[in-house]
Amino acid sequence: MAGHVVPQKVYFVIFALLIGLTGLTTWVATLDMPSPWNTVVALAIAIFKASLVILFFMHVKYSSNLTRAAVVAGFFWLAILLVFTLSDILTRQWIPQSTGWTTTIESPH
C-alpha cells in the first residue's frame, strides 16, 4: 500500500547532485561560448536536473508505465507546441523575396 519506499540516502544524493548542477549552470554562464552553446548547455543541465527530480523525488523510476506515459505525454505535447510554432517563425525569412523591381524614378517603358 505504502508504495515503494525509497531509502533516504537516495534523496540526499540527488539533493547534492541538484545543488552541484545549479552551481555548474551558473559557472557555465560565465564562460563565453559561441552563440547557441550557452543556451544549449544551460537547457541540457536544466533538463537533466528536472529528470532527477521526476525520477527520484517524484518516484517515477519506481512507478507504473501509466505514470510514465503521463509524464512523457506532458513533455511531448509541449514539444509539439514549441517545434511547430518555431517551424513557422524560423522559416518565414525563407520566402523568396522578389528583388526584381526595376522601376526607377521615371515611369516604366
Binding site: L66, I80, L81, F84, T85, S87, T91, R92, W94, I95
Partner: protein, 541 residues
C-alpha cells in the same frame, strides 16, 4: 424536474431521480447522472441563446444592405453566436451530458473517480456562462469567436475582457471533465472489462479527454495573456512594440483546432453505439474505429496551421500543416467506411435515433471532404474566410455533431427518464432538421466559392439569391429544433414507461433499471463478452 410527479410504475423502484427531492438535492449532488442532467439543462438553454443569434443573423442577411440591425450589432451577433455555440454548447454537449451520464455506467462503475470535481466542473461552466452572458447583456462583444489581436486587444470598444474571462473559466470546466474521464476509464473498469471490450463510446471519450487536458490549458493561458495585453498594454501581440499578432493565432489554434475534434469525437462515439444497436450487429472493424479515435486525438495537435495559410505564416510551415491536415482526414474516413460496412446485412430499423445516425454519416462526409478543399493550400487561398468555410464547419458541427447529440439524446432518453418519447414526432423532427439543414448550409458552399467573405453585415447584391435560400432553410431548421424540445419535455411526464432496455441494446447501461439507481448497479457487473454482441439478442427477448 425534482417536482415532477412520477407515475406509480416508475415509482416502484428507487432511482437517482426520486431518491431525494428539492433544489438542494440537485445543486449539491455528486451523482454523475444528476450532474449530466444539470449540464443538459444549461446546455440546452445556451443552444437556444446561440440559435436565436443565428436566427437574427439569417434574417438580417435576407437583404444585401442588411435588413435588421446595424453592422456593429451584426458583428456582436456572430461573435456571441460563435462563442456560445463553441465554448458553451458544442464542446460540453456530448461529453458533459451523455458522457457524464454514461461513462461510469458503461464501465460498470458507481460514479466517476472524482464526483466532487465533477460537480465543480458544472459550477465553473455556469460561472463562465454567466460572465459571457453578462458581457452580452452589458453591450456585447464584437471580435469574432477567434478573438484575433490587435483588434481584440487594442481596437475593439466592447466587453472583450468579460467574455474572455468567461471562456477562461469554462475552459477549466472542460479540463475537469476530461480529467475525470481519463482517470475513471483507466482505473474503474468493471472486472473483465478489458480495453478491447470497451464500447467505442468510451474510446471516443478517452480520445476527447486527452485533447481536453492537453489542449485547453494553452487556450486558457493565451486568453489570459490577451486580457493582460488589453488591460495593461503589455505589447505582447502589438506590432508597434515588436509583438507578433500571428503568435496569438498559433497559440489560439493550437487549442482550437484540436477542439474541433473535442466536438466531433464524442459524436462519433455515439454513432458507433447507434449504428450497431439499430442494425443489430457487431461493429465492423472494432479496433480500427477504436484506434482511429486515438490517432485523431494525436494528429489533431499537428495541423493547427491550416487556419493560417494566408495570414503571413511561413509558406514552408503551411506546406507541413497542409500535409498533416490531409493525414488527419484518413482516420475519419476509416470510421465512416466501417459504419457503412456495419449496416451491411444488418437488421436495420428506422427508429428516430437511427435516422439521426444515418444523417450524421452523410452530412459529416460532406463537411469532411470540403475540409479537404480547405487543407489544399492553393484552394484555401481563395476560399479562406468566405462562406465556404462557414458551410464546411456547419456541415460538420451542425450536420454532424448536433445530429449525433440529438441521436444520442433520443437513444438514451428512456434510460435517462424512464420514459419513451412519441416516436412519430421524433422521426418527423429528424426529417425536418435534415431538410432545413441542407437548405441552410448548402447554398453557403456556393456563396463561398463565388467569393462572399464571412462576417459581412452588408454584401453585394449578386449574392442575394443564395442568401435568401439559406435564410429560408434556417427558419425550417429552427422549427425542427423546437419540436424535440417540446415533445421531450412532454414525455418526461406523459411518455410511455420504457423499461430497462427498450431497444434490446447491448451494453452495461441497459442491464440496469431505467432510470438507474444512484449506485447504477445493484452489484458490480462482471463482463464476459465483447461489446456489441448482438448475435445474442434473440435469446434474451
Amino acid at each position: 424536474m425534482s417536482t415532477t410527479t412520477l407515475e406509480p410504475s416508475i415509482e416502484t423502484h428507487v432511482h437517482y431521480l426520486n431518491v431525494s427531492y428539492g433544489i438542494k438535492s440537485w445543486l449539491l449532488t455528486t451523482d454523475h447522472k444528476r450532474i449530466g442532467l444539470l449540464y443538459l439543462a444549461s446546455i440546452t438553454l445556451m443552444f437556444f441563446v446561440g440559435g436565436s443569434a443565428a436566427v437574427l443573423m439569417r434574417l438580417h442577411l435576407i437583404e444585401p444592405q442588411g435588413g435588421l440591425v446595424e453592422p456593429e450589432t451584426y458583428n456582436k451577433l456572430f461573435t456571441m453566436h460563435g462563442i456560445i455555440m463553441v465554448f458553451f454548447f458544442l464542446i460540453p454537449s456530448i461529453p458533459a451530458t451523455l458522457g457524464n451520464f454514461l461513462v461510469p455506467m458503461m464501465l460498470g462503475a458507481r460514479d466517476l473517480a472524482f464526483p466532487r470535481l465533477n460537480l465543480m466542473s458544472w459550477y465553473l461552466y455556469m460561472i463562465g456562462a454567466i460572465f459571457t452572458l453578462s458581457a452580452i447583456a452589458a453591450g456585447g462583444v464584437d471580435t469574432g469567436w477567434t478573438l484575433y489581436p490587435p483588434y481584440s486587444s487594442a481596437y475593439s470598444h466592447t466587453h472583450v475582457i468579460m467574455a474572455a474571462l468567461g471562456i477562461f473559466i469554462a475552459g477549466f470546466s472542460s479540463i475537469l471533465t476530461g480529467f475525470n474521464f481519463i482517470v475513471t476509464i483507466h482505473k474503474m473498469r468493471a472486472p473483465g472489462l478489458t480495453w478491447f471490450r470497451l464500447p467505442l463510446f468510451i474510446w471516443a471519450h478517452y480520445a476527447t479527454s486527452v485533447i481536453q487536458i492537453l489542449g485547453t490549458p494553452v487556450v486558457a493561458v493565451t486568453i489570459a495573456l490577451l486580457a493582460l495585453e488589453r488591460l495593461f498594454h503589455i505589447g505582447l501581440f502589438d506590432p508597434n512594440v515588436g509583438g507578433d499578432p500571428i503568435l496569438f493565432q498559433h497559440l489560439f489554434w493550437f487549442y482550437s483546432h484540436p477542439a474541433v475534434y473535442i466536438m466531433i469525437l464524442p459524436g462519433m462515439g455515439v454513432m458507433s453505439e447507434l449504428i450497431t444497436c439499430f442494425s443489430r450487429k457487431r461493429v465492423f472493424g472494432y479496433s480500427f474505429i477504436a484506434f482511429s479515435s486515438v490517432a485523431i486525438a494525436v494528429l489533431s495537435f499537428l495541423v493547427w496551421g491550416h487556419h493560417m495559410f494566408v495570414t503571413g505564416q511561413s509558406v514552408y510551415a503551411g506546406l507541413v500543416f497542409s500535409a498533416l491536415s490531409f493525414m488527419v482526414a484518413i482516420p475519419s474516413a476509416i470510421k465512416v467506411f466501417n459504419w457503412m460496412a456495419t449496416l451491411y446485412k444488418g437488421s436495420i430499423s428506422y427508429d428516430a435515433p437511427m435516422l439521426y445516425a444515418l444523417g450524421f454519416v452523410g452530412l459529416f462526409t460532406m463537411g469532411g471532404v470540403t475540409g479537404l478543399f480547405l487543407s489544399s493550400l492553393a484552394v484555401d487561398v481563395h476560399v479562406h474566410d468566405t462562406y465556404f468555410v462557414i458551410a464546411h464547419f456547419h456541415y460538420i458541427m451542425v450536420g454532424g455533431a448536433v445530429m449525433a447529440y440529438l441521436g444520442g439524446i433520443h437513444f438514451w432518453w428512456p434510460k435517462i427518464t424512464g420514459r419513451m418519447y412519441p416516436d412519430g414526432w421524433a422521426r418527423f423532427a429528424a426529417l425536418v432538421i435534415f431538410v432545413g439543414f441542407n437548405l441552410t448550409f448548402f447554398p453557403q458552399y456556393m456563396l463561398g466559392y463565388l467569393g462572399m467573405p464571412r462576417r459581412y453585415a452588408v454584401y453585394p447584391a449578386e449574392f442575394q439569391v443564395l442568401n435568401v435560400m439559406s435564410s429560408a432553410g434556417a427558419s425550417i431548421l429552427g422549427i425542427g429544433y423546437l419540436i424535440p424540445l417540446i415533445y421531450l419535455t412532454w414525455s418526461m411526464r406523459y411518455g410511455k414507461v420504457a423499461g430497462p432496455n427498450p431497444w434490446k441494446a447491448k451494453g452495461l447501461e441497459w442491464t440496469t433499471p431505467s432510470p438507474p439507481p444512484t449506485e447504477n448497479f445493484e452489484e458490480t457487473p462482471v463482463v464476459t463478452e465483447e461489446a456489441y454482441n448482438y448475435s445474442a439478442v434473440g435469446e434474451e427477448a
